[in-house]
Amino acid sequence: MQNLLRFIRMYNFLIIFLLLEGYSINLYLKHNSFQNNIILSNTNKYTGKVYQISNNITQYFKLQTINNQLLNENSKLYNRISNNEIKDRDDEKKFNYISSKIINNSIFKRNNYLTISKGEKHGIKEGMGVICENGVIGVVHSTSNNYSLIISILNKKSAISICLKKQNNYGSLKWSGFNYKIANIENIPNHVKTVIGDTIITNGYSTIFPAGINIGTIKSFKENSETGNKDIIIDLFTDFNQVKYVYVVKSEESIEQLNLESLIHE
């Protein structure tokens, strides 16, 4: 005890310096988004390699569940072919899919990110949407040559535009933190009829996701007279704890749409 006190007395200058400097760096990293972006995408380059190695080992233990997921997906695809669902319709946007493996994933933080094992080399760019066979995962935040960082929908920054499958009303999806199985829906007005169990899907307006990707079902809702919008809580279809493989959505016509729409702002 006496030694400890002597130690503190001897080095109090250095200890206070380290505490205050640490706090400053913490402020710096939290509040400066430009610098933060550069640092994140730089570290992504190196941490991606480390996660890849650890993932190569751990994936053997999950082969069983992965096989099941792939089987399910296969069967779904067979069904769609037999129902002639896949048609080349001229008036719908065309999307291509790049499949990839998740090599790092977080679900318990306030702002969650995923890392996947494909990057610029494979044609992934910032701002592309990411889905899995059950539902929506998130949006690509930044890419390095071989890896990409994805803002999952379990993040304060993410807001995905959605619509109700039955009523066709548009709203946006937000995550309030804490539980990775539920999320909130905003901007659905009070007068819209909702039923518990209704499906929420992506709307086709954005260039990020194709229309009609499942997101979740309504778990509970409450009218809010202050905002005029309903507070809706949904169960997400995607189990972020289990998901292993994702598809990055690549729309060749999206640039054309964005260019056309940017004329309005000029």
């Binding site: 310096f17 205050l20 706090y23 400053s24 939290k30 509040h31 400066n32 610098q35």
Partner: protein, 156 residues
């Protein structure tokens, strides 16, 4: 004196970007002239608070405060090298009229250089020729401005 320098910094100098490279920070003078006698832990908190205030007003939380803290950390070793011994009392402020023009300019130049190097690297998250130029040009201008303010107090 503290509020005057902060107001000059926030309202005048923060708005100025000479020749798109030079961004002087006069408020450093508050930390540079602190006498030897002030306890070091107080100096650290003081530097943090000043840096934090400047950060608040320029919208760059954490950048100035970490640069100021490192300035204070390195202040006493650098003062030992640049300021002649036995020339001042412990309670004297390290102003130009006490320690002489030559050693004051050298002393403040080194401290300002350290501060600006950390500041601009944190701000741009890069280190290339342009940023080196910005660091050196700003350091020279800040040192000149600090020396000029010292002249005001020469006779009083």
């Amino acid at each position: 004196m503290l509020p005057i320098y902060l107001i000059i910094q926030i309202y005048i100098l923060n708005e100025i970007l000479f020749a798109s490279y030079i961004n002087p920070y006069i408020y450093l003078i508050i930390l540079i002239i602190m006498p030897y006698k002030i306890p070091k832990w107080f100096l650290l908190f003081y530097a943090f608070i000043i840096g934090f205030l400047i950060d608040l007003f320029s919208g760059t939380l954490g950048i100035h405060s970490s640069a100021c803290l490192i300035l204070v950390l390195l202040k006493s070793p650098i003062s030992k090298i640049t300021i002649p011994h036995n020339i001042i009392e412990e309670t004297d402020e390290l102003v130009m009229q006490k320690i002489g023009a030559k050693s004051f300019i050298l002393f403040s130049f080194i401290l300002v250089l350290i501060h600006h190097t950390i500041l601009f690297i944190l701000e741009h998250v890069a280190l290339d020729f342009q940023i080196l130029l910005k660091i050196i040009a700003s350091t020279i201008i800040t040192t000149i401005i600090i020396s000029i303010t010292q002249l005001f107090f020469f006779k009083s």
